[in-house]
Symmetry: C2
Subunit: 208 residues, 2 copies
DNA sequence: CGCGCTTGTCAACCGACGTTCAACAAGCTG
DNA sequence: CAGCTTGTTGAACGTCGGTTGACAAGCGCG
């Protein structure tokens, strides 16, 4: 029964601030551990907050995860957006450089996120959407507005898979300078386009 | 309190039979649903057996999954093993045909397995091992016993990613005959090798 | 000052999960 | 038929994501 002035039992924040804080806490944990390895209790605890409050701001673990990933993805998407200047190949070079630079800085985050995303249907759709937008950007430069022929579409999706696998190998082995990897991805891109054209000669391309 | 002869509460099987039955039941479920979507209860129930018995034979869900996947993977590995006859390109063509044929027959199983494997570290290692063996098979034909240069290794891992992505697109869209896809993969393979050589001219290749 | 609205805590609970344990029962051997 | 091995089970544990309801602390406003 101490009658003296106690320090406040907790600090009160405005809704926006609190939401930001929780989102950041979640993002920080999801960046270092896979989705399944993190519990809502841990996230609440890391933010110094009770579990029901966390649920008050994010109605489910999935929502919190998606909010964090969507934010990161849109930042990344902005980063690799083509400037609109230069030939298609120059634009792709610039985008690749930005992308690889980000991954070089956040290698673990990238791999953990890819791992988590593989398990959650919603997150898979997000990655799928990210790829679809990237593919559309590429296709718009290559073929204009025409609907691509199946072999070309498959080839470009294949190249996106090539990117992921090559980048994963790069982050693990670290025996290739970034510029070399960029050149390899670029050369592989052009090469796979020619391969697709060889399989389906009706494919028309306008490379710079 | 029926005094008459009751039918036995359960039927007893020999260890090998029971294990086979449980493994098959698990494999059948994992082939149609992702890892997280299947519970040990469901597997036990599907086999007409209690949960603890399932645990008696497979000490954890992970073990059961790995046992099922390992079995399937080794069957597949045998299937795509090169015959040893013909030029490297001919052998690769034959292996690709076997692989694609299997996937055309078991498309859903393939995608569910890839999805599940992405989430589990152990399963990822298994897929990684599968790829490593495939890559070694390829490299042995291309460069003999020499240790590959980094750019070549990255390029081949990239091409394996190209395969996965292209095949995934193929199983979803189904607008490409199998032979066309095989030709596309093959052409992409040769093309990415040349791309790697362009980035690192020291790479020596011996294509048939 | 006091009142009320918002923000927050706490303890307890739910059903489902993976996993474990003590005890029962089926079938072989003597 | 007794007794042993061992295949098998129902019940329970701890943790997870998620929910409920009652209540306290901070802050603005009359």
């Amino acid at each position: 029964m101490p009658a003296m002035a106690r320090e406040p039992a907790y600090t009160r924040l405005h809704v926006d601030e609190r939401r930001r804080q929780l989102l950041d806490a979640g993002a920080a944990l999801f960046a270092r551990h896979a989705y399944e390895e993190i519990s809502m209790r841990q996230i609440a605890q890391a933010a110094g907050v009770s579990k029901p409050l966390l649920y008050h701001y994010f109605p489910s673990k999935n929502d919190l995860f998606m909010a964090a990933v969507t934010e990161a993805a849109s930042e990344l998407q902005d980063r690799i957006a083509p400037s609109g200047e230069g030939t298609p190949v120059e634009q792709l070079t610039a985008s690749l450089d930005s992308y690889l630079e980000w991954i070089e800085d956040n290698g673990e985050t990238w791999s953990k996120l890819m791992q988590s995303a593989a398990a959650l249907p919603q997150a898979r759709e997000l990655v799928e959407g990210f790829r679809a937008r990237t593919m559309d950007m590429v296709l718009a430069e290559l073929t204009g507005r025409r609907k691509p022929r199946p072999a070309l579409r498959t080839a470009i999706k294949g190249w996106l898979g090539y990117m992921d696998a090559a980048i994963l190998d790069w982050t693990q082995a670290r025996d290739l300078p970034r510029a070399k990897l960029r050149d390899l991805l670029l050369a592989a891109f052009v090469a796979t386009l020619f391969a697709a054209q060889q399989v389906d000669p009706k494919i028309k391309l306008s490379l710079g």
